[in-house]
């Protein structure tokens, strides 16, 4: 059990790629911290630096109050689960689980006890004599977790551990991971690009981009109060709708949408509205006309895609270009409707939003205006 701290850690790879740019993090003992961001944002690099697999170019990393910059991975008392599991192919599950303990000269009886214990927690009992090639993806994943947990490490590092599982298994393992963390309380650093995993699992999340931490906080706070345009566009699924607008005095206008917000400095702004905040218009609320071109029913609710008058804004967090090609004078917008009010493609509907659920960002800096 230990806290982890990164102080102004920078990592530059040969060739000049700046993977981490002055990253500072404080992870208290027992916390489940998730580093989330698009690929290439430096999250895996940060994890590898904590593990000791790579060395930082500058900055300080400490585990349990001790600076570990010069300490080899084996002496850091950490455990890591790799994206591809990295199980030893020539060893049975039992030997895979016991390898770390054996390397640390744990008495044989102790190894047996702890391997048995972890196998029971992860229900691996029947698989002990099998080799990795004879296991399914989910079973390999559990063995990989078991191999990490059996050593009772100070810090538990996971690098996209669920990304190779199918959707159903991923949801199951996500819950299993959370339960394990609640039970064992080991400080955990978890890397993912999947913001649903980040939202559901983390005590705190760190949204990263281009080697920097853009916002750190509990998932609910990052979701409801994104610090900047990038975080706003990255966290939340479907992504927040972003429209270009203008603030004048306390009045903000973006296309048809108009509302007042006290204390807004004048100038170009970005108006952000989450799809789940948009609903059928009602009197007195700011509203805009949505021309529906696609409806995705999800059972209880339906995702309604369409366009509104105005100009769209890219947040930089989009991994793919907008699928719906909107004409320049119109901006794509997604709203979530209940199945009962669901419109049909081609309809024009008025959607409204509560004024206090509209996010505002400075167009030039991307910073949230509060």
């Amino acid at each position: 059990m230990a806290d982890v701290a990164l102080r102004s850690v920078t990592k530059e790879f040969p060739g000049g790629t700046l993977a981490l740019d002055d990253l500072s993090l404080d992870i208290p003992d027992g916390e489940f911290l998730i580093l989330v961001g698009p690929s290439g944002c430096g999250k895996t690099t940060a994890l590898r630096l904590i593990a000791g697999l790579d060395k930082p170019t500058s900055g300080q990393i400490s585990i349990g109050g001790q600076v570990v910059n010069g300490v080899s991975p084996r002496d850091r008392d950490i455990a890591m689960v790799f994206q591809n599991y990295a199980l030893y192919p020539h060893m049975t599950v039992q030997r895979n689980l016991g390898f770390g303990l054996k390397e640390r000269r744990t008495p044989k009886r102790e190894i047996e006890r702890r391997v048995g214990e972890i196998a029971a927690i992860l229900s691996l009992g029947e698989l002990m004599k099998r080799r990795p090639a004879q296991l399914s993806g989910g079973q390999r994943q559990r063995v990989a977790m078991g191999r990490a947990l059996v050593r009772e490490p100070k810090v538990f590092l996971l690098d996209e551990p669920l990304s190779n599982l199918d959707a159903k298994l991923r949801v199951q393992m996500r819950a299993e991971l959370k339960r394990l963390h609640q039970k064992l309380g080991i400080t955990t650093v978890y890397v993912t690009h999947d913001q649903v995993e980040a939202m559901t699992l983390a005590d705190r999340i760190v949204v990263m981009s281009a080697g920097r931490a853009l916002q750190t906080g509990p998932p609910q706070v990052v979701y409801s109060r994104p610090a900047n345009l990038f975080v706003a566009g990255f966290i939340g699924s479907p992504a927040m709708n972003l429209l270009s607008g203008r603030a004048d005095g306390s009045q903000v206008v973006a296309g048809q949408l108009a509302f007042s917000r006290a204390g807004v400095p004048g100038g170009d702004v970005v108006v952000g509205i989450r799809p789940e905040s948009l609903g059928p218009a009602s009197d007195g609320r700011p509203s805009l006309e949505l021309e529906v071109d696609l409806v995705e029913p999800l059972g209880e609710v339906a995702l309604v895609h369409g366009t509104v008058a105005g100009a769209a804004v890219q947040s930089g967090a989009e991994e793919e270009k907008e699928i719906l090609a909107a004409p320049a004078s119109r901006a794509p917008v997604t709203a979530i409707f209940t199945a009962a009010d669901q419109p049909a493609p081609g309809d024009r509907v008025r959607v409204g939003v509560a004024a206090d659920r509209i996010h505002l960002f400075d167009l030039a800096t991307g910073a949230a205006i509060r």
């Binding site: 199980l87 770390g100 990795p132 090639a133």
Partner: protein
């Protein structure tokens, strides 16, 4: 749709069955080439076997008989009695086993360093080692001889072993193979507490069976059959290897062909045996992988 699929798969199944039948009971076209080539390879072996059980006079027939008139197994006991054949055999086994073991160990260590450890000048040194593969043995023969002589090992088995404990080919072969293994396995082992050597011996080498077997077989063949180097470094009969000893059956005035062939049969047997054992190993390959995909 479903009907078509089943009909198609039935068709495929019967075609496959047909191929299997042809493979078992009839010749494939390849056999027209393979059988004559195999025969051409086998005839010298048979000739050697037959000659080894003939009398000296019978060996002088031409064209040679491929079926022996007599079976004179005394040739074999004569070889064992009149020449220190057992001694040569033991010498060859010692030299070969130590050379193979040395190559496996030292080439693994060097190959791993070149594959995974970053150090200053790594690529330059590696290319320099590779370049030695292009230098013919005859060029380095005399310098090597002088070094071995300075080490005081001329006319000892050491002269045959020490220069062959590691080789550029083995280092290259193993480096290439080690590079194909996923780095994550090593990283996982390092986090689990293994040292560099621990990673090599407990993770890398157990997964490198095919490459190690290849290196072992090649080193074995090379060392077992080497003639030139033993010829220039070994002078006393006691320290000869099989290949060198066999030449003592060839006199200036008379060659006991039948005895020479009996000795030859005995020296070829271990090589044939190894080939059949190793062949099975090559085919097995890497059966399992712990990685997804």
């Amino acid at each position: 749709m479903t009907g078509q699929t089943t009909a198609a798969s039935r068709g495929a199944a019967s075609r496959r069955a047909g191929e299997r039948d042809r493979g078992q009971f009839l010749f494939s076209r390849w056999h027209l080439i393979l059988i004559p080539v195999a025969a051409a390879m086998l005839i010298p072996m048979i000739w050697m076997l037959v000659t080894s059980v003939e009398t000296l006079n019978e060996t002088r027939h031409f064209p040679p008989d491929l079926l022996p008139h007599t079976v004179r197994l005394r040739n074999y006991s004569d070889v064992l009695l009149h020449a220190p054949f057992a001694r040569w055999f033991v010498n060859t086994v010692i030299v070969t086993v130590v050379s193979v073991a040395g190559n496996l160990l030292f080439c693994s260590l060097a190959g791993y360093a070149f594959a995974r450890i970053k150090f200053f000048g790594r690529e330059v040194v590696f290319v320099a080692i590779l370049a030695t593969l292009m230098i013919p043995f005859q060029v380095v023969m005399i310098p090597t001889f002088i070094i071995v002589k300075d080490l005081g090992m001329i006319n000892t088995l050491g002269a045959l072993i020490v220069p062959n404990l590691a080789g550029a080919f083995g280092i290259f072969l193993l480096r290439q193979f080690f590079r194909t293994l996923p780095v994550e396995l090593e990283e996982a082992a390092r986090i689990d507490g293994a040292s560099r050597l621990g990673v090599l011996f407990k993770i890398i080498l157990p997964l490198s069976g095919p490459a190690l077997a290849t290196l072992a077989v090649i080193t074995f063949l090379w060392t077992w059959n080497d003639f030139l180097w033993p010829l220039i470094t070994i002078s006393s009969a006691d320290n000869m290897t099989l290949q060198l000893g066999l030449t003592t059956f060839q006199g200036t005035h008379q060659t006991s062909t039948n005895l020479l062939m009996a000795a030859n049969v005995m020296s070829v047997l271990p090589v044939l045996l190894l080939f059949f054992l190793a062949q099975r190993f090559f085919i097995r390959g890497i059966a399992s992988t712990g990685l997804k995909g």
